[in-house]
């Protein structure tokens, strides 16, 4: 028996090793290098000759003034933008996703087609959806302005992607459009786990739809909702390509990822950008760990 388990161990690691090697080289190694660079003054066009400068990229006092990321108001602005985006978009996506999931859960003619339609925004490449939306939102030729003007909601064309009052909402709107289907599917899976007899019992008792939803469905859906929200939130915290393509170099929408990339490649601060990347990673890491801890706690209860 012992020998068998020993064989199991070797076999297990043997089968794992190709995946671990690849994942190690594309994930762990780059992460380690990023971490290392964050303590250096490396330049993008010279990654060999650099010197270690301790925590100076993070925070540094020079002639009585503080420098470094933690003293950079643009960084904190990016943090604020990212959090704002995450909270609002995930909330909207959850509510809309719930509505769509409830629709999909009902049996009706053409449900398959409807589900396929729902998936389309999710499958379209982000670059393409950003282009499509910026075309529709164009201030001179855009159809959105045309519609709103015709209905009379606005009296003059709005430059959606340059106006600092609207630009963040545009990003959120496009993200909601793109990601709600994903959310809806996750929630739908949770709905389908709820045994059908619960609904029947509720029907027999004559509970109204709204009460059924709040008293029965919502509590049963809670675990699914928590998982979905956490997954989406972790994804939203690293938002990059939508913002990068839709509203490049705009301080009203700059996110932590965009900030990191800008410093890495546009400015001459590879080390500094690496430090920003490291901070972003740490934020996400902490959230993941606390989520996992939370999961462990709740699963023990069950």
């Amino acid at each position: 028996m012992k020998r068998a388990s020993f064989r199991n161990i070797t076999k297990g690691w043997l089968l794992l090793s190709p995946m671990l090697i690849v994942l190690g080289s594309v994930a762990i190694f780059p992460l380690y290098r990023t971490f290392l660079f964050s303590f250096t003054d490396a330049k993008i066009d010279d990654l060999i000759n650099f010197s270690f400068i301790g925590f100076n990229n993070y925070i540094e006092k020079f002639e009585g003034l503080y420098y470094g990321i933690l003293a950079d108001s643009t960084w904190w602005n990016a943090v604020y933008n990212t959090l704002f985006f995450t909270v609002i978009s995930v909330t909207l996506e959850t509510i809309l996703g719930l509505i769509v999931a409830l629709c999909l859960h009902r049996a009706f003619k053409g449900r398959g087609i409807f589900r396929a339609i729902m998936l389309i925004p999710w499958a379209i490449p982000t670059v393409v959806s950003a282009k499509m939306w910026s075309w529709m939102l164009n201030d001179q030729f855009g159809i959105i302005n045309d519609m709103l003007l015709k209905v009379g909601i606005i009296s003059e064309s709005v430059a959606w992607t340059s106006n600092s009052d609207t630009v963040m909402w545009v990003v959120i709107f496009v993200d909601v459009w793109k990601t709600t289907p994903f959310m809806a599917l996750l929630i739908l899976a949770g709905l389908q786990i709820i045994p059908g007899h619960i609904f029947q019992a509720a029907k027999v008792d004559g509970i109204s739809g709204i009460r059924l939803f709040f008293k029965v469905i919502l509590p049963l859906l809670r675990p699914t909702l928590i998982v979905s929200v956490v997954f989406r939130a972790l994804d939203a915290l690293r938002i990059f390509d939508l913002i990068y393509v839709l509203t490049p170099s705009n301080d009203d929408t700059i996110s932590m990822s965009v900030y990191a990339r800008e410093n890495l490649f546009d400015f001459d601060k590879f080390g500094y950008g690496s430090a920003a990347s490291t901070l972003l990673f740490l934020v996400i890491c902490m959230l993941t760990l606390s989520y996992l801890g939370f999961m462990r706690l709740t699963s023990e209860k069950i």
Partner: protein, 280 residues
Amino acid sequence: MIRRKFSKFLSILGFYLLLGIITIYALFPFYYAFISSFKSGTEIFIVNYLPTKISFDNYLSVLKTGYFGQNILNSAFVAFSVVLISMMLGIFASYSLARLNFKGRSTILLVILSASMFPQVAVLSGMFELVAALSLFNSLWSLVLTYMIFTIPFTVWILHTFMKAFPPELERAALIDGATTMQLIFKVILPIMWPALVSVGLLSFIAAWNEFLFALTFISSDHLRTVPVAIATLSGASEHEIPWGNIMAASMIITIPLIMLVVIFQNRIVSGLTAGAVKG
């Protein structure tokens, strides 16, 4: 009685109205891009809600100028390679994690899960170094390699949940018959698991087909670029404006295959997505 019927009718009407609104919301941008792609010249700057004239000029000019045809092949090559390789790696790894009993499995699962949380930007600098060191810069293989960072985690994760549910009797029977591990995996488990494989394959394919940041960074020749980058750097053959018509046409060309995939395989995608997230 009539009243009740009427209110039931109303609720059904409301339900379909809701479906209608959701459908329009989901499809309208795509529809509008679609009709815009058939407009040529200055016509594109005039807002129309219905298709007016159908002209294939944009499609022709996209396919004629530059390397768009080649770009599509590049994307297909990268996406297929990513699917095949990550699936192979994922099958072995997930079998090991799901069916073999040894210490450290949960730690590895945790590492894999956390790798799926990596912000791409956070690894970009190190990834760039890796690509340069392996002299894969400006080669499609750089993309095949780097895309593993997001395909492997969910491939392993999803396959592992499916493998766990695999009936142990079948496995035991095969082992008693003297099957090797490889035979067990390829002859016994995989034939039953193909729906799961289709799911992860599709998800990997879509992710690889749509990726932008790495493709922008690691490829430096027009003829090696993948389609998302080709669209972002599309320049007009005409001297007017940003070539919106061409961009829309190119967008249609690369999106329609995806939409067909989604429509055909929607069941598989749904089960793949939900298995990955909820059971985990």
